[in-house]
Subunit: 427 residues, 2 copies
């Protein structure tokens, strides 16, 4: 394995995660960078989480699939779309398998615009990750909505938002430094899963002057793009997710040793993790349902089981791991006050092996984000990673009904450790 | 006095400060709202702090005066400008005396654009306060610079920035709610004196869509204004200052009783405070020189004594009072880590009588900003308000050389209490 001990391998993996330079360089059509979406013979949808069949998907995720089929004009009504999906006319591929991540359902098809985040510290070909654009709140595809306004917004993102952001980002020499963006906003109360408001404001602050000055964009499109960015407090979540994907993939592509968690994701059915020493293999267990605060009129009975690739943020040490950076989130997710946030991050320090010196948390007395979950420590201590998450209505298209925290199943970590021990020839 | 006890009066004053609704409604030429600046017979400059003569002013403040004279074209070179100033051809009026406040030197003349913040909870005529626009950093008038680029920037602010902001603000129905803006950004690491980055980003976020869509503004002016706002992390300081002025003036205009501090300001020579029970009277003592961290190559020997009206932020419970909201500031001003920030705000709670429920600080376990400094408590406890401040080079025009904290002279509080006791007929 090239390392004398698991600890040494783990340290190398975490340091490689930390030393990546995720850089947002462009927004492009998904099919232009993901060959699986550009296959004339096989209609393909990407989805969040580990592999899953259509019939296993929860209602919101199935709704998202219907929406994507309508968006791609593979069918022109829900009934026909569902038939295609049920009759196996569509291939499903985990977004994680094609260098990307998607929030909630994560359903993504050929013509979705995707953020392109490149690790500029990495000269190999495997140095880029993708994520869809945030759709805002309300009726959105990622929560399973597929009505006309959802499809129209996706068309606008495809035709206007994506191309305008692409033009603007390409004006930034060397691209937008995501490490720097996270460093700035982690001192402004963001933890980059539940709360991205500072980073999203900063993103607009960085891009608004450029967008305003673009010469080959219609005035109305400039106005609409700037208004959309101003209205979308979670816009940066998807940037952070793509950054998380490239950080973890850079590390796991270079080092296939040790027990550091390199992916955590959920498909509404199973929670999957990867560890560096086991490469592409998924270790899964049944997903939990988030615990938290519900919007008026909703309760846990209405909640969909946990889904989405957004737990990539916790995988890189932010989200619930960095709860102390965003004490305002604790009230939103129903986990108490400042001291509860502190306790959460202190707990997370028990199962991580490093602090990211790029992401200093002033409210944690200037400690760095707790990074590098060691699956062994999770099993040994019984402390599970805390994931901040939105809660989806279990009925497709009804959107977000609350926010809370969720933990992975311990089973996934146990399976990963057992498999790695076996690989190393331990009994 | 209408109150049975000083405590009762103090409570009323603080509650009136808290119940104001400071609303940013416009940006206008100073002379259009401040009659003292529109007097054909008397050239007038406003300045920060309690009353002061030109010959008492420190070099940066005198430099600012030269700049204002050049900006108004009362003279066309420094020598002539200084002659006018030294020969008493210019009348000096404290900005505080004309419903406004100015940062650092605070020097303001007829054609400066000023922010207009109105207390919309207040139907009287005395419901509005003013503050100049932030000039950004580097060579700026408020630190005493008066070179061509300083004057050109002021001309641009007069001709472009002011009018564009005016048009944009007037598009917001009812104006921009400053309480809401502070509430949002106090959860994002701002304390509104040393750190206004979140509020400034949010300000841009609120205005960029409007500015982009303005129909009667040149494209280049839109670009320049959006770029300036994007580059000016302290832009919101001046908004917070005007809000502070209207909050304190509303309270002290309605209630002339008690020992709550209604103004704190410095002119580089004297530190002045007002208390509600003594109306317009200033109680002064010699200013201190800030303690803090200096930029490379500078030391305390280079520092100008404390100046500026910006301590109005501490007067309303933010700035150094709310240090815990902005632990990142503690590193910048050299006052240690998270626990030092906590200790500072806990100390400030000892000399204030309320917490502002509008401005909840998540990092202070969701307590409100410590508001309403009781001059009696300052004298009794010996705890002085902590003011976060920039440190100016004592040579005009060399700008900011560091950042730190400063305290008022105890003498000012003692004098105020003594005078009020005398007024009440106590011995």
């Amino acid at each position: 394995m090239g390392f004398k001990t698991i600890d040494e391998a783990n340290e190398a993996v975490v340091q490689r995660m930390i030393s990546t330079q995720p850089t947002l360089i462009d927004v492009v059509p998904a099919k232009s960078v993901i060959p699986e979406l550009n296959d004339e013979n096989t209609k393909t949808l990407l989805h969040a989480g580990p592999p899953i069949r259509f019939d296993q998907m929860s209602d919101p995720m199935q709704g998202s699939c219907v929406g994507a089929v309508l968006f791609e004009k593979w069918a022109d009504n829900e009934e026909d779309a569902r038939k295609m999906l049920e009759n196996d006319e569509i291939r499903f591929v985990p977004f994680h398998h094609v260098n990307g991540v998607g929030p909630m359902g994560g359903i993504t098809s050929a013509n979705f615009p995707v953020l392109v985040v490149k690790d500029t510290s990495n000269e190999t070909e495997k140095n880029t990750a993708y994520c869809t654009l945030n759709e805002g709140i309300g009726a959105v595809l990622r929560f399973g909505a597929f009505g006309p306004q959802v499809i129209e917004r996706l068309e606008w993102q495809r035709d206007v938002l994506g191309p305008v952001l692409s033009k603007a980002l390409r004006q930034i020499d060397g691209g937008m430094n995501v490490n720097g963006a996270i460093a700035r906003a982690i001192a402004m109360g963001d933890e980059f899963h539940q709360r991205n408001i500072a980073a999203s404001y900063a993103f607009l602050r960085d891009l608004a002057p450029i967008i305003t000055a673009l010469e080959d964009v219609e005035q109305k499109d400039k106005e609409d793009v700037i208004q959309f960015l101003a209205d979308t407090d979670q816009f940066f979540l998807n940037v952070a997710m793509a950054a998380g994907k490239v950080m973890t993939d850079t590390a796991r592509n270079e080092i296939q040793s040790g027990t550091i968690v390199t992916a955590m994701c959920r498909n509404g059915h199973e929670f999957g993790i990867r560890i560096a020493g086991m490469g592409d293999e998924w270790f899964t267990g049944p997903v939990n349902t988030p615990q938290g605060l519900y919007f008026t009129g909703f309760s846990e009975e209405d909640a969909n089981p946990d889904m989405g690739d957004s737990a990539i943020t916790e995988t890189i040490g932010v989200g619930g791991m960095a709860m102390i950076a965003a004490p305002a989130v604790t009230r939103f997710v129903g986990t108490g006050g400042f001291n509860d946030a502190l306790e959460t991050s202190n707990d997370m320090a028990e199962i991580t092996i490093a602090e990211n010196p790029n992401w200093i948390i002033p409210t944690w007395n200037f400690r760095g984000a707790p990074t590098g979950i060691d699956a062994r420590l999770v099993v040994e201590t019984g402390i599970l990673p805390v994931i901040n998450t939105g809660i989806a209505n279990k009925v497709a298209g009804r959107g977000q009904i609350g926010a809370g925290t969720v933990t992975p199943p311990m089973e996934a970590f146990e399976k990963a450790i057992t498999a790695y021990a076996k690989k190393l020839g331990m009994k």
